[in-house]
Every structure is written in C-alpha cells, then in structure tokens.
C-alpha cells in the first residue's frame, strides 16, 4: 500500500523517523517477550524489570503521535495516508509491549514450576510467533505486501492453535493457578499475534480495511 502513497515523492523526514520509532518499539517488545517467556516457560528468574523496559515503548508511541501531528500541521497533503496508518500502527506496537509485560505478570501467579503438554504447546506457539516480529518489521520497512500477508496468515493459524489450547486447559484437571496461567498466556500470545497481524494489514490492505479480520478477545 505504501508504494502507492510514496511513488514519485520523497517521504517526510518526520514520517521516516516515526517508522524508525515503530521498528524500535517492535524490537524492544520482542526483547521483553523473550525475557518474559524464558521466565514463564523455562522457570528462569526474570532477568529485568519489564515495566522499566516498557517505558521506552510508551515514550516512542508519544514521539510517533507527536511527529505525525507536527508533520500534518506543516504539510497535510504529503504522506497523509501514511500518517494516518502510522497512528494506527503505533497503537498496535504499544499494545504488544503491554502484552509482553503481561506474560511476565503471570509468572508469580503460578504456584509450581511450569512443565508438561500445555507448557510445550505454549512453547511451540511462542517459537512460531517470535520470528513474526522481524517479518512484520521487514514487511512495513520494505513495503512488501507478500511478507505482510504471510504474517497475517501465520497469525490467523496461531490464533486457532492457541484457542484450541485454551479449550484443552478448560477441560483439564489443572489446579486453578496453573489453569489461569496457561489460559492467560495462550490469550496473550494470541493477542500479540493479532496486533502483529494488524500492523501487517496496514501494508497489505487498503486503508479502510486495516485491522480487517481482527477480533476482540
């Protein structure tokens, strides 16, 4: 979609900087998710304060909003659609940071170490989800709709797998604490996938169909 927007023109430096900020937000969120998953699935101590790590993500969101407004105040004709898309993307990128932090918040709820089929199911989902951060970033940096569609398709598949895992948790005889932890972890991973899919949809879809197919959980 961006190719159509930017063809024959030079992108505004502020809009360019806003795209850099979203890349940084995704990288920081991916790092937070790695640490949180390590603590949850491998029973390792949490290596950092996730709240602190989330601060730059929140700050970057403010920067992007400000940059977009500054740009539109000066030059509303140039990069108009890209500016609106950025405001939508930054919202998804910020939520991913919050959800990564949410995984970390589940760790103290578990009264026993995490192991067994549900833990493995989550590990497999996380292994599939994790590379999608880089693919999503590449998709919007290179304005590549094919890569973007790949992210959307994979996130859709992951959503079904994680919904199935949640159903199995509900039918299991897990203790309440472990059921809460696994069900919520599955939900959070599903939401992270949905937000990555939303970002990818801004590359692959027309403006009015961005976030199309996303569902609120």
């Amino acid at each position: 979609m961006f190719k159509g927007i930017f063809s024959g023109t030079q992108r505004s430096p502020l809009i360019e900087a806003a795209f850099d900020d979203i890349s940084d937000m995704l990288r920081q969120s991916a790092h937070m998710l790695d640490l949180a998953l390590e603590a949850l699935l491998d029973n390792a101590p949490l290596q950092a304060d996730l709240d602190e790590l989330d601060d730059p993500v929140d700050e970057a969101e403010r920067m992007v909003r400000r940059s977009v407004l500054e740009h539109l105040s000066f030059n509303p004709q140039q990069d108009l659609v890209a500016s609106l898309v950025l405001v939508s993307m930054v919202q998804d990128a910020e939520r991913i940071g919050d959800f990564a932090r949410g995984i970390g918040e589940l760790v103290p709820l578990a009264k026993s170490p995490r192991s067994g089929p549900f833990n493995e199911g989550l590990r497999t989902a996380a292994r599939d989800l994790r590379p999608l951060f880089e693919v999503t970033e590449r998709a919007f940096r290179k304005d590549d709709p094919e890569e973007a569609r790949r992210v959307m398709s994979r996130c859709s598949g992951l959503k079904e797998e994680l919904q199935e895992l949640t159903r199995k948790v509900a039918d299991s005889d897990l203790t309440a604490d472990m059921a809460v932890v696994y069900a919520n972890a599955a939900r959070i991973l599903r939401r992270i996938g949905s937000h990555l899919s939303n970002i990818a949809s801004s590359v692959a879809q027309p403006y009015d169909r961005i976030r199309h197919g996303d569902e609120d959980v």
């Binding site: 430096p13 900087a17 909003r65 400000r66 500054e70 105040s73 000066f74 030059n75 140039q78």
Partner: protein, 355 residues
Amino acid sequence: MLLLFTLLFAFFVGLDMMGLSFKLFGKGFAQAMIARTANPFVGLLVGILATSLVQSSSTTTSMTVGLVAAGALTIDGAIPIIMGANIGTSVTNTLVSLGHVTRREEFRRAFAGATVHDFFNLMTVAILFPLELGFHVLRNSAELLEHVLEGSGGIKLFDPLKAVVRPTAEWLSGQLGSSGALTLVGGILLLFLALKFLVDLLKELVSSRAERILDRTLFRSAIAAIGAGMLITAMVQSSSITTSVMVPLVGAGVVTLEQLFPFTIGANLGTTMTALLAALATGSPAAVSVALSHLLFNAMGALIIYPLPPIRAVPLGLARGLGKLGARNRPAAIAYIVLVFFGLPILLLFLSGGF
C-alpha cells in the same frame, strides 16, 4: 529555483512600479499621502486593518517600505503602520484556531495559543507606541543602525539588481499607458501576487526541513524556540504560516503555551526579513530605516516582555483567560476577533478624526 528567482524578481518589480507611480502622479499626490498619514493613530489603524484584510504583514510592510522609498510616506508616518501590521498579522492564526471550535478542550488550548501572539503584539504596541510618539525611540535607533549599514556598504548590495528591475518596471508602466493610477494598481497587484506565490513555493520547498527544525528545537529551550520561529519564518517569509501551523499542535496539547510563546516571538522577528529585503532592493536609506524599525520593534518587544517572568506572565495569562472564555462561550471568541481586528480600528479611526 528558476521560479523562485522569477517570483523574487516580480516582487522587486512590483515594488519599483509603486515608486514609479508616485513620480507619474506628481509631487502633489505624494504630499497629500503624507498629510493623510501624519496622524500616527491613523497609521496604526491602517496597518491593522490592511493586514487583517490581506492576512499578510509582509505585504503591508513591503508596501509601506515601497511608499517610503517613493517619498509618499515619511518614516514617522510609516512606523505606526508597521506596528499595526504586527497586530493585524496575528488575525490569521486566531482564525485558524476557530477550526477547533467543535471540541471544547482542544479549542480552549488552540484559542489561547493563537491569542498569545495577539496579546504579545498588543502589549508591544501599548509600550512602544507612546514611546515612539514621545521620544522617537524606534526611529532614532533605526536611523542609527541604517547609518552603520550604509557605512559598511550594506545598502548598495542590491544596486546591480536595480539595473534590471527599473527597466522592467518602466516597460510595464509604459504598457499601462504610463498612467500613475494603473502603474500603482499594477505594482500593488504584482507585489501581492508575487509574495503570495513566493510564500506558497517556499513553504513547499522548505516544509520537510522546517518540520525537522521544529521537531528538534521547539522542546529544547526558549532560545532554541525563538531561533526556530525566526529561522522557519525567514525561510517561508510568512509569520502567518509559522504561527498557524502551531495552532493544531497547541490544540492537541503536544505543545504548551509556554513552549509556543518564544516560538511566536521568533516568528515575529523572522517576518521582518521580507520588508528588509524590499527596503534593500529600493536602495533608499529611509526605506531601510523603516524596515529596521520593524525589526527593532519586535526585538525590543521581545526584550521587554519575555525575559522577566512577571511581565511574561501577562500575555500568557490573558491568552489563557481568553481561551477559557472562548471555550465556555464560543460566540465570545468570534466577538473578540471582530472587535480587536476590525471594530476597534474602525472606531479609533472615527475618534481620531481619520475619516
């Protein structure tokens, strides 16, 4: 670039045609003009009204400089017009702030952001206008500065340009039948259009750089904000544009009134470049003095009002109060604009016997 130079050339030709027209009218007409603007209140109000109507102080100040160069206006007659132009130019961003009227909180901030410019300019006039009437503070300082500039050869910088501008202006005047009235109207029209297209073109050319400067400097310090306001305004040759682009940012709460204020002062300083350029192009020492008085007026205003927090708090407080009033009672916001920029000048014109 070619278009840029063509528009600049057209601007200078328009200015020169104004000068030519007064030669064609004869000495009597120029003397009548001088007599008409001898009342400084009239000059002030003409400056406010003319700038409010054309929404460009650069047009008013350039024309004023042109009239001084042509001998149709004295320095004493021109300075109040320049002061009035400063007040009149702040109507544009106040009108822009009305675009936020449907969202109460946003409008409160936007209207306060727009009117802080009004209050700064009104305060500067309230302080410097009586000082100018009593002691000619601006005229004396400007003439002193002009002598320094003349001594350093600065005024002769544009002499080669005049060799090209004058024959073009004379040719155009000839095409208009060498009529004083037609040459004057043609000159004003050419100056107005050239300046309008010049500002549009410059905005397009520099907007990417300007938004970057704004982003990097506005939130650092007051000095940086003054510098940014000055630089961006000098780049686009219009303080109306630079102060207007800030209105949505203030309305959205991204820029505070305190951050905006020094930027506005910078914009006031930056906009003086157009008249200075016009004055240098005329090569007239009196015109250069008037353009310098415009610069000094804004610089003195900034030095009197900004450095001391209690004085600085006055325009900020008034703008904040008016923002609240406008958000609570929106017709009051409209009434303020009509009253300050149109009603008050007309009323004072009557009272001063200008009609």
